[in-house]
């Protein structure tokens, strides 16, 4: 037992690095006792070290801690995505007025690292208990982060809503897991799959009910309809860097655990044949995912059209984007899985970028309302052009990474003969264009209300961070070989044949 734990520690280096850097930042915060970039820098350094360890794990496949977590290309991929997005969000906090002006000192740094730790574990856990625990780690830290600016009323309100909703949905999830445990006698997802393949499930509602209830837990992390009700309010109330963190990091972690859980627990023994998943008869998760995905796309996009706050609009757009990503799971094959990962990579850059530009704008204008952005394109041209790139990427216009992501998703759908679903997705992107472009309409097509053309100044650092997001968004749109190669390599999961 002890020996196995010691052996496992080797494969646990990325997480260990996170724990260490979390502790270091806490101690540093205590020593410095005021707001400091140093703490953020140390935090970022810790994340980089952790990502380096994750990088060293490429190619490895191992099971750790008696079947609690695994190391495989899939988890390494998500560790990279999660680490990278956390680094970006930490960078955002250095420019965000909301964070810098808050009464707190550097708590956000180690809270975010703690959340990254939970997210790392979500990406690699293969035991339902572990999944639940890591999901709760992420949730608990995000409750705190959502209410980070405690003096702001709507921030505290959003944290409260988030807690209530989160507690309810994770309660439902753990209940469903206990149901599943009672039926199968195991918490390990591989053993679950072996057990389920052996018994006759036709006409047995238990599995479907527990899938739906477990999806309540995962679905709330990826803010998929109908588990999305917290999203708009929390996204609107939380400080923007935290919103970005929830929209990208937390939801990517949600996807990682969802994909692993669904694909590993509910596939028959041979798992994959010619790239298609072999679903256990009687387990209709494909249909459930299709319903969730279509509902998320339609609700997210159509409600986003009516929003007047960009932040709230991005919240609904995140719901819709989650719906697009779920499309990849509904085809139940390797190609769909790869498309999901490609989309997630694109989503990382474009969605973080959109939130980042919003931070810059909100810093200067103290508002995230569309009406306040009238004619902004003439006052802050570079930033608004950046916004243009991210908006077009999110709506899936070619030569941006967003198009590549959508292209691969629809490709997977059409090859699986799910043409109607592709049509639904495409029509949704037409709708989404309407509200994404509305931001640009206010920025460029309308004249400033006060008629002033005073240019807004941003520091060089602000532009550098924007370029770090905008350049990959464009580059991967034009040359997407790397995205596809990475995704194809990373769909390989432990125990997946």
């Amino acid at each position: 037992m002890l020996e196995q734990i010691i052996n496992s520690l080797n494969g646990f280096l990325p997480e260990t690095a996170l724990i260490v850097s979390m502790l270091v930042t806490i101690i540093l915060d205590l020593i410095i006792r005021k707001k400091s970039v140093v703490v953020t820098a140390v935090g970022i350094a810790g994340l980089l070290v952790s990502m380096y360890f994750a990088y060293l794990q490429i190619g490895a496949k191992a099971i750790l801690f008696s079947g609690m977590v695994v190391v495989d290309p899939f988890s390494v991929f998500f560790k990279m995505i999660l680490g990278l997005s956390t680094i970006f969000v930490l960078l955002f906090t250095t420019v965000s007025k909301e964070i810098q002006d808050s009464t707190h000192k550097n708590e956000h740094v180690y809270l975010m690292i703690a959340m990254a730790l939970g997210a790392f574990l979500m990406a690699s856990s293969v035991n339902m208990l572990m999944m639940y625990l890591s999901l709760e780690t992420v949730s608990l830290t995000s409750y705190v982060l959502a209410g980070y600016t405690k003096r702001v009323k709507r921030s505290s309100e959003s944290a409260m809503k988030y807690i209530i909703y989160g507690a309810a949905s994770s309660g439902i999830m753990i209940y469903a897991m206990s149901l599943l445990y009672g039926f199968t006698g195991t918490m390990n997802i591989y053993e679950t799959s072996i057990f389920l393949s052996k018994v006759n499930l036709t006409g047995n509602p238990l599995i479907v009910i527990s899938i739906i209830m477990i999806l309540a837990g995962f679905g709330y992390k990826i803010s998929s309809v109908p588990f999305h009700f917290w999203t708009p309010d929390v996204y609107e109330g939380a400080p923007i860097p935290v919103t970005a963190f929830l929209a990208v990091t937390s939801s990517a972690a949600g996807f990682s655990v969802l994909i692993r859980f669904i694909t590993n627990s509910f596939l028959a023994g041979a798992l994959v044949q010619n790239g298609n998943f072999v679903v256990i008869p009687g387990v209709n998760w494909k249909e459930i995912i299709i319903v969730l995905s279509v509902a998320s796309m339609i609700l997210g996009n159509f409600v986003a059209v009516w929003q007047t706050s960009v932040k709230r609009m991005l919240a609904y757009s995140s719901i819709a984007q989650g719906g697009y990503i779920l499309l990849g799971l509904s085809v139940a094959n390797q190609q769909g899985l790869a498309a999901m990962l490609i989309y997630l990579m694109a989503y990382l850059f474009m969605n973080l970028g959109a939130f980042y530009v919003l931070i810059l704008i909100a810093n200067k204008l103290d508002t995230d309302e569309l009406i306040g952005m009238k004619g902004l394109g003439y006052k802050a041209p570079a930033v608004c052009v950046g916004m243009g790139i991210f908006m077009f990427a999110l709506s899936g216009v070619p030569t941006t990474a967003g198009f590549v992501g959508k292209f691969y998703l629809f490709t997977a759908l059409i090859e699986s003969k799910l043409v109607w679903l592709a049509v639904v997705g495409l029509m949704n992107s037409v709708v989404s264009l309407f509200f994404y472009i509305k931001v640009l309409k206010y920025m460029f097509l309308m004249k400033p209300e006060d008629g002033s053309t005073q240019k807004l100044q941003f520091g060089a650092g602000a532009y550098v961070i924007m370029l770090l997001l905008a350049v990959p968004t464009m580059f991967f749109g034009i040359y997407f070989t790397p995205l596809v190669r990475i995704a194809e390599y990373s769909i390989s999961m432990f125990g997946f044949r």
Binding site: G275, I414, L445
Partner: protein, 526 residues
């Protein structure tokens, strides 16, 4: 396969990306040099005309192109995306593949010409010139790229990126309801391209290159019936799917043409767009729809083209007659020209629906002629609007004496638009109708659409009467005649109109071999 390189880069790449180079130059121009921005932009578009002239001198009209790679000219073929195969996901290969044949070459010439003219017309833009010309040049790249791309994916990319600058050009520099017009244009076309994307992906997975055994986006390979196995999604056995795919593609392209009932964005976009953008829109952008049909729908789905020729001809006839009737009802000069474009694009579609050499020849020739003629017409609308700040036809009268040179320019353009013998559109319209009469299935429809000619003459003559004859209202006593810059942007086009009216074979020779091949291909005659 003719290749032509300058500095090691193929001439089509130059044609496509020279405007991007211009964009970069403009972006880095210092504030002190701002008054030269427009000249730089004109310079870059003038280079396009020079390159087009060079291409014209080298172009070999005896080569067919269409479905044979060896028949294409100025071909450039490089690998863009090449992702080796995984077991479950075939090798993905997208090529940077450019080339022209008789179908695209007239369009390339037109694009170069109209871009140049449009840049001169744009001199009336006074606000934020740098942004304007950057967007303008970006638009030129998109248009040129779409006409020369032979890889479906590449074509789609150009087709889509064209929308972005157009949105801003209408939305920022447009008229009163510019925001509405811009978003309407964007959403309509984006909606259409969603269908094109679906068919593109469907075709890709149905295809199997007979030589390499891989999926392909290569349009020329896709035309080869051997490429699409009969039992694949869009294979010959799945007749229904093939017809659905044809209709989807048709909707995607028809929105751009614009064909009835997808035409409602056009009057709005035209009325709100600045003059130069109207020129580009009518002169080049609309042709992209009909070009796309010929290049992709007709060639890859010849069965669909044969199956749907009567409905398409009917849509074309509706376009011709309904467009003309709408034009007749307009009081706004620009809106009238916009509706006349709908009517004239109907002729193009009628010629294409005839599936005869003479009809399609007429259609392509009409595309070119409509481009040159409406460019002059829209510029003329801009001329009067810049001076009078109104386009209401009923506000004018008796301008013939006040603005004699303007009168002369507009008369030639108007008569060309009616299709007066001796001017280029006469030839193309005649060819279109000859094609329509030759195809017995659509003969009735073609006969009905000849009514459009009369209606066309009616509203044009009435417009002339309202503008130029009668008495001049007091308030227009101060109007000045057309100035030299405006003459430069109209007279060369009129010279082309007259020259092609007298010697149409110059243009027809460029395309006829290719069109012949295309028609034989559609009817399965080798």
């Amino acid at each position: 396969m003719i290749e032509f390189k300058l500095l090691g880069i193929g001439i089509l790449s130059w044609m496509t990306f020279l405007p991007v180079l211009g964009m970069i130059v403009l972006l880095f121009m210092p504030r002190s040099a701002e008054k030269y921005i427009k000249y730089v932009a004109v310079g870059f578009t003038a280079l396009l005309v020079v390159l087009a002239a060079v291409m014209l001198s080298v172009y070999d009209p005896s080569k067919a192109g269409v479905n044979t790679l060896s028949g294409f000219q100025f071909v450039e073929k490089l690998t863009w995306i090449d992702i080796p195969a995984y077991l479950w996901d075939g090798r993905i290969k997208i090529e940077y593949f450019l080339g022209v044949d008789g179908i695209s070459f007239p369009m390339v010439l037109l694009t170069a010409l109209i871009s140049f003219i449009g840049a001169i017309v744009s001199f009336s833009i006074k606000r934020n010139e740098k942004g304007y010309y950057v967007m303008y040049l970006f638009l030129v790249t998109g248009m040129m790229g779409a006409f020369v791309a032979l890889d479906f994916f590449l074509f789609f990319v150009f087709w889509e990126i064209m929308l972005l600058p157009m949105y801003f050009l209408i939305g920022i520099w447009g008229g009163e309801r510019r925001e509405y017009a811009a978003i309407k244009f964007f959403l309509y076309t984006f909606f259409g391209s969603a269908f094109i994307l679906l068919v593109m992906i469907g075709l890709y997975f149905s295809s199997k290159d007979p030589e390499t055994g891989l999926h392909t986006f290569n349009m020329i390979t896709l035309m080869d019936p051997r490429t699409i196995p009969a039992d694949s999604l869009l294979g010959a056995l799945n007749v229904t799917w093939r017809l659905i795919a044809f209709v989807s593609l048709f909707i995607g392209f028809a929105i751009k043409v614009p064909a009835f009932p997808f035409h409602t964005w056009l009057p709005d976009a035209h009325v709100e767009a600045p003059t130069a953008i109207s020129v580009i829109l009518a002169g080049v952008l609309l042709k992209m729809g009909t070009y796309g049909m010929l290049r992709i729908s007709w060639s890859i789905f010849p069965d669909g083209a044969r199956y749907f020729m009567v409905p398409i001809a009917i849509i074309a006839a509706i376009n011709v007659i309904y467009g003309a009737l709408c034009a007749m009802a307009q009081k706004d000069f620009k809106k009238l020209i916009a509706y006349s474009s709908i009517s004239h694009m109907g002729y193009v579609m009628l010629g294409m629906a005839s599936l005869t050499t003479i009809g399609i020849n007429g259609a392509i020739f009409q595309m070119f002629n409509h481009g040159t003629i409406t460019a002059v017409l829209f510029t003329s609308v801009g001329v009067i609007y810049d001076r009078a700040h109104t386009r209401g036809l009923n506000d004018f009268g008796g301008l013939a004496n006040k603005m004699p040179k303007y009168f002369a320019v507009l008369m030639v353009a108007f008569f060309a638009s009616i299709g007066l013998p001796g001017l280029s559109a006469f030839i193309s319209e005649t060819f279109v109708f000859l094609g329509g009469f030759k195809n017995e299935f659509i003969r009735t429809v073609a006969i009905i659409s000849t009514l459009g000619i009369i209606l066309n003459a009616a509203y044009i003559l009435w417009t002339i009467q309202r503008l130029f004859f009668g008495t001049l209202p007091e308030k227009w006593n101060e109007l000045t005649d057309i100035n030299p810059r405006e003459l430069i942007s109209t007279v060369p086009l009129l010279i082309i109109v007259i020259a092609l009216g007298i010697f149409p074979s110059y243009m027809l020779n460029l395309m006829t071999t290719s069109v012949n091949t295309l028609v034989n291909f559609i009817w399965g005659i080798n």
